[in-house]
Symmetry: C2
Subunit: 227 residues, 2 copies
DNA sequence: TAGATTGTTAATCGATTAACAATC
DNA sequence: TAGATTGTTAATCGATTAACAATC
């Protein structure tokens, strides 16, 4: 296995895992890089390069054994290990994540939520209780937590991130609209929903602008030939 | 403005916008690429290259006028235009998105939700009503909608995406765990939450593996010199 | 004018794709 | 063995960084 795996490859791993899960479900036993490439709309070369970052999972003349490759990528992603989460911010999004069924089958388990709103404190969501935010440190001392999810307003998120670092949390899943400043050994994975939506908005508006321009230049864009 | 803007640049635009919004709030009138670079932890060169993809927003010897640059990037992202959304799938996540306050101030407005569950049909979330999914086509005929959000199980999402394309929807914000197969003029922006979490899980496990390895080789990692 | 800082070209770096020898 | 297909090296492509002339 390579020592330094590029972000591009890591980002593609879950997608490989998803396609392999599908193949497994379809009872496909073996697949070649070119067949998988056709399904995934990528190049076979990229697939072989990506997989060889981690080891020789295939076999010349045969291809890849689906159950084996699926298991190996699963291991890389830590699917086979139990990972304990807490969610800080039990608003709509935090509660939605706590209710999310898909995490469970990939080894993620939400153990507790935290909030400052007396309205939600004490509630139980999928077996996970909502605690007052002030109990955070005490809770983390008694419970082994791998990942802390931040679903709070940005100012509070920055402050809570600091507290989490002090408690020794090494992985933060951040939904707050801000970049967190943490120690270099703390991993942060950002999900900026409004920024994702803004990217879509950009592309939509760019496409409209382009269309308008071609209309103005007389090209109807209907594919009609003028010759 | 360049004709073909790379994905890398588009992905960075909302972050620039966020930092410029902060500067605006701090009443900073002008900023140089190197000062902004220091704040954002990127290179000044990248900032200048990125911005020049769209035009010369700066001025030699002066830098960038914050309110102007903020407005220009806002225009690129379509912040100044009203964009109408629907959400298909009024489960926890769909409802959380409908409740999201941050969208409004960026010009996004949720007009309606759709579901098959009689339990949620008829409810109103932030002024948007939940309709039966079967009304989708009739609704889209009467209402101008820019973006359709998919927060449903994957099989249903694939089917609904087809229906949306037939209705002429040109932008889909997809939260379902699947790649949607749509016409080439339909834009899809994916948010795969569990894949984001799996990337974090990968990095966490890779870091632990690495740490374990250095421990085994006798390197305590405390920075102690052995010489 | 002199200093600052952009816009832009050139150099570097990294990621993707192509090619093919190794091998099942 | 012959055919298929990987693992891997080499070539290409694109994105990032550096450098500097243009100019405010």
């Amino acid at each position: 296995m390579k020592d330094k795996v590029s972000t591009a490859v890591i980002q593609r791993l879950p997608r490989y895992y998803r396609y392999l899960s599908d193949l497994l479900e379809e009872n496909v036993e073996r697949i070649s890089s070119s067949d998988l490439a056709a399904r995934m709309h990528v190049t076979a070369s990229q697939i072989r390069q990506d997989l060889n970052t981690f080891g020789g999972f295939g076999q010349q003349g045969y291809g890849y054994h689906v159950p084996h490759l699926h298991a190996e990528i699963g291991k890389l992603l830590g699917i086979d290990q139990q990972k304990y989460l807490i969610i800080i911010g039990a608003g709509n999004l935090g509660q939605a994540l706590a209710n999310y069924q898909n995490f469970t089958k990939r080894g993620f388990q939400v153990k507790a939520l935290f909030d400052i709103d007396p309205e939600v404190i004490g509630r139980t969501i999928q077996g996970a209780q909502v605690f007052p935010l002030e109990y955070l440190e005490a809770y983390l001392e008694k419970n082994a937590i791998d990942i802390a999810t931040l679903t709070l307003p940005r100012d509070r998120a920055i402050e809570v991130a600091k507290r989490l670092c002090r408690c020794g949390i090494k992985a933060i899943w951040n939904f707050a609209h801000t970049d967190l400043q943490v120690d270099e050994d703390v991993l942060v994975e950002n999900v900026h929903l409004s920024e994702s939506l803004m990217q879509l908005s950009y592309r939509m508006i760019a496409a409209r602008r382009k269309q308008k321009k071609t209309e103005e230049t007389g090209d109807t864009g209907t594919g009609e030939r003028s010759d």
